[in-house]
C-alpha cells in the first residue's frame, strides 16, 4: 500500500482526467442537471455516493466472483446489473430510513443508473494500469471512485455557476440554450487541459 498512489489517483481523476471534461463520461447529467446550483450540488453528492459504493461492490465482484470462476467476459452484464440494483436498493433504503436525505438526493438516483460515469469508473478501476503502473488494489479502487465523483461534482458546479450567469447574458438567438452550454463547457475543458501538463509520478 503506497500512500503516494492515492495522491496520484486523486489529482488524476479530479483534474487531469476529469470525468466530464477530460474523459467525456456523464455528459447527459452534466448538460441536463446543471441549470441551477442547488440541483447540481444534489446530483453531485448523489454521484459521489453511488460511485464510491459502486467501486467497492464491483471491485469485490471482480476479485471474488468473476476472476476465480473465469467469468471475466461477463463483466459488463454483471457490473450493470449490480449497479442498477445497488441504486434501486439505496433509493428504497433512503426512502424508508432517511427521508430528509431522500428529499434532497432521491430524485437524482434513478438518473444515475444510466449515467455512464458510474459504469465507467467501475470498468476503469479494473482496466486502468497506466496510471500507477499496476492494477488498483481495493483501497485505491474505492478512492478512485470517490475522487472521480468529486471531479464530476466540481465540473457540474462550475457549469451550473456559469449557466446561472448565462441566463442574464445576451446570447445570439441561435446559440441560446444547449449550444452555448456546450461552448462554455469547451472553454472550461480548455482550462482543465492545462492540468495535463502536470507531471505527478
Amino acid at each position: 500500500m503506497d500512500f503516494s498512489h492515492l495522491i496520484v489517483i486523486a489529482v488524476s481523476s479530479i483534474f487531469i482526467n476529469n470525468f466530464v471534461l477530460g474523459r467525456f463520461l456523464g455528459i447527459c447529467p452534466f448538460i441536463g442537471v446543471s441549470k441551477k446550483l442547488d440541483s447540481a450540488l444534489g446530483m453531485g453528492m448523489a454521484v459521489i455516493f453511488v460511485m464510491t459504493l459502486a467501486s467497492t461492490v464491483t471491485f469485490l465482484i471482480q476479485t471474488y466472483v468473476l476472476v476465480p470462476f473465469e467469468l471475466e467476459y461477463l463483466r459488463t452484464i454483471a457490473f450493470i446489473l449490480v449497479i442498477a440494483s445497488l441504486v434501486q436498493f439505496i433509493e428504497m433504503f433512503m426512502k424508508k430510513n432517511m427521508p430528509s436525505l431522500y428529499q434532497s438526493l432521491g430524485v437524482f438516483l434513478p438518473l444515475i443508473t444510466t449515467n455512464c460515469a458510474v459504469l465507467g469508473v467501475a470498468i476503469l478501476n479494473i482496466d486502468d494500469i497506466a496510471l500507477i503502473g499496476q492494477h488498483f488494489n481495493f483501497i485505491e479502487s474505492v478512492w478512485n471512485g470517490f475522487t472521480a465523483g468529486i471531479g464530476f461534482t466540481i465540473a457540474l458546479l462550475l457549469m451550473a455557476g456559469i449557466r446561472e450567469r448565462l441566463e442574464l447574458a445576451d446570447v445570439p438567438e441561435s446559440l441560446k440554450g444547449t449550444p452555448i452550454t456546450f461552448i462554455s463547457a469547451s472553454l472550461i475543458a480548455v482550462a482543465f487541459l492545462g492540468f495535463s501538463g502536470m507531471s505527478i509520478m
Binding site: 455528459i27 448538460i31 467476459y73 459488463t76 452484464i77 455512464c116 452555448i180 456546450f182
Partner: protein, 207 residues
C-alpha cells in the same frame, strides 16, 4: 406512419444525437477521427437492432414492473457479444474505442428505443426503427468526427487532403482532437441546427 417514414425519421427529423440529445458521451468521446466515429456508430447500430428485435419479440412476456432491468440484461448481452467480436476481428478499432464499447450498454438511445418503441410495436417495425435510429446515430457521429478530424489534422478518413492537393505546411489545431474541440464542435453543430430551425420558422411565418 408507413414503413419508409419509420425508417428515415431517425436520419434527420428525430436524429438521436442532434435533435433528441441522447447518447452524447460516445458522440463526443470517440469522434476524434471518422474511422472511430463510423466504428462506434456501426457497433451501436448492431446492438440496437439486436436488442430492439429481441425486446419486441418478448414484449408479451416481460412484466411491466421489472421491464427496465430486463431490457438492460438483453442490451448488455448484445454489447458483450459485440465487444468480444471486435476484440477478435478488429483489435485496432477495439483498442481505440476502448472503454466506450462496454459503455454502449448505458447509451440512452438504446434503452430509449426499447422503452418508447420496441416494447410496444411489432417486431418488423422495431427492426426498421432500430436500423433507422442506428443510421441516424452513425450520421451524427460521422458528421462530428469529420469536422474534428479535418480541423484537427487536415485529413478526412485518414487521407491528408491538403497534401494530396499539393498544399504543404498545413498544421491542424490539435485542440479540436482534444476534449475542448468535442464540446465546441457539438455546440456549433447544435447552434447551426437551431439557426436553421429559426430561419425556417421565420420563412413560414412571413408567408
Amino acid at each position: 406512419m408507413n414503413k419508409l417514414q419509420n425508417f428515415t425519421k431517425g436520419f434527420f427529423k428525430e436524429n438521436p444525437v442532434l435533435i433528441l440529445a441522447l447518447g452524447l458521451c460516445p458522440a463526443l468521446a470517440v469522434t476524434t477521427s471518422i474511422e472511430n466515429g463510423l466504428g462506434m456508430g456501426m457497433a451501436t447500430t448492431a446492438v440496437l437492432i439486436g436488442s430492439s428485435t429481441i425486446i419486441s419479440m418478448l414484449k408479451k412476456f416481460i412484466p411491466g414492473n421489472i421491464r427496465i432491468p430486463i431490457f438492460i440484461i438483453i442490451i448488455a448481452t448484445f454489447v458483450t457479444a459485440i465487444d468480444l467480436t471486435l476484440q477478435a476481428f478488429i483489435p485496432s478499432l477495439s483498442e481505440s474505442l476502448g472503454l466506450f464499447i462496454p459503455l454502449i450498454v448505458v447509451n440512452c438511445i438504446i434503452l430509449g428505443r426499447a422503452e418508447a418503441f420496441a416494447s410496444k410495436k411489432s417486431v418488423l417495425n422495431s427492426m426498421i426503427d432500430a436500423l433507422g435510429m442506428g443510421i441516424g446515430f452513425t450520421i451524427a457521429l460521422v458528421l462530428i468526427s469529420a469536422v474534428r478530424e479535418f480541423a484537427g489534422t487536415g485529413a478526412l478518413y485518414g487521407y491528408p487532403l491538403f497534401q494530396l492537393m499539393g498544399i504543404e505546411g498545413f498544421k491542424g489545431s490539435i485542440m479540436m482532437i482534444l476534449p475542448p474541440g468535442g464540446f465546441l464542435t457539438m455546440g456549433l453543430i447544435l447552434g447551426f441546427m437551431q439557426w436553421n430551425k429559426i430561419r425556417k420558422a421565420k420563412n413560414t411565418g412571413g408567408k
